[in-house]
């Protein structure tokens, strides 16, 4: 029988339960912090902070970093929170997998070598990070928070995220593999 505790230790919820939960969270984030949930700017700030650290303050002069401001803010902490929240959920439900280099779907098509998967993941990350800043948002900022506010820029972005993603995934798994 389901108890309150077993809900939290279930490794998977219905996608609708998770989705409705995220929708309710967006109400609170607007009401309490006056901000939508978004993540990709924080990665750009981190990149700038790393450049600043390596070069001793070079990055601050770049116009883009002046625009987004290189400091730890609400949204940067939100991304840290996502890592912690996912970790907590994974740990209490016995779904924490440290040591997995190659996802099983990838392995079924491209083999289980980390020497292939990791460089491809890094290349994908470069394209993703560049595209997220080009589009002004990602699957959370545009795809959830922007679309739920009915923003034109966000609906256009969300649709083209999936068009680009579906074509590329089909090409990888049906043509290359």
């Amino acid at each position: 029988m389901e108890t309150i505790a077993s809900i939290f230790t279930d490794p998977r919820w219905s996608p609708y339960a998770a989705g409705i939960g995220i929708g309710l969270l967006s109400w609170l984030s607007f009401l309490i912090s006056g901000k939508p949930i978004a993540t990709s700017t924080s990665f750009a700030q981190t990149g700038g902070m790393i450049e600043d650290f390596i070069t001793g303050g070079n990055a601050q002069h770049r116009p883009y970093y002046k625009k987004i401001k290189l400091k730890i803010n609400w949204q940067w902490m939100l991304v840290v929170g996502v890592v912690i929240g996912s970790f907590l959920s994974a740990i209490i439900s016995g779904d924490f997998h440290l040591g997995v280099w190659v996802p099983s779907l990838w392995a079924s098509a491209f083999g289980d070598s980390a020497l292939l998967r990791v460089p491809v993941a890094a290349a994908g990350g470069i394209i993703l990070g560049f595209g997220a800043r080009f589009a002004g948002g990602c699957t959370s900022g545009h795809g959830i928070s922007g679309t739920l506010q009915l923003a034109v820029s966000s609906w256009v972005s969300a649709i083209f995220f999936f068009i680009g993603g579906i074509i590329t995934a089909k090409f990888m798994y049906l043509v290359i593999a």
């Binding site: 609708y16 993540t39 990709s40 883009y64 996912s86 994974a90 590329t168």
Partner: protein
């Protein structure tokens, strides 16, 4: 006076950080429970074999939209709309989509995947994303008055664009999304 103002600013700065962390923890918890911190689930969506990601996103959007527009009509909140253009939101989003499929995570879900322990996300993906955003920052002066401005449509919502009351868009949008979700279930997706 100067120092007093400075002190109150720094104490005010801490509270948003604390709330940001709290919202992030809940968001990460829900992403993991929904399955969206896993490569197989995300790429399964892009291969159109597993509709978990769209089910999460669309149910979040329909729930969020109704509440946000209700609170907006009461004057409790203000919207926070991103500006955009054809250059940004078509070209940029297509580039994002390619990276989304090649990496198999997006910026929010990779943070979740890191929490879940996946090493391809930690070692490969995170480093790549940081580098990709940095390349954009380097090229930004060249892009900002060119392609990023092509076909600018500004900070606008569909109700404003169509010049109608908010609910004229919210209600049909909510109905369409719910119908789409029912169709997913009926089709066994």
């Amino acid at each position: 006076m100067e120092t007093k103002k400075h002190v109150s600013e720094t104490t005010q700065d801490k509270r948003p950080l604390f709330f940001g962390l709290g919202f992030g923890i809940l968001f990460g918890f829900l992403l993991h429970k929904g399955g969206a911190t896993k490569y197989d689930v995300i790429v399964g969506q892009l291969l159109l074999t597993d509709f978990t990601v769209l089910k999460i996103m669309l149910s979040a959007v329909v729930t969020g939209m109704i509440g946000i527009y209700f609170m907006k009509s009461l004057g409790w909140i203000k919207l926070s709309i991103k500006g955009g253009s054809v250059g940004m939101n078509v070209i940029g989003a297509l580039i994002f989509g390619v990276g989304f499929a090649v990496l198999g995570y997006c910026p929010g879900t990779i943070a979740g995947a890191i929490g879940n322990g996946y090493l391809d996300a930690i070692v490969g993906g995170l480093a790549g994303i940081l580098l990709g955003t940095w390349i954009f920052a380097v090229l930004y002066p060249k892009l900002k008055d060119g392609i990023l401005k092509k076909g600018d449509f500004g900070e606008i919502t569909f109700p404003r664009l169509l010049k109608v009351n908010d609910w004229v868009v919210v209600v049909p949008a909510a109905v369409l999304i719910v119908l789409m979700l029912f169709w997913f279930e009926k089709a066994g997706l």
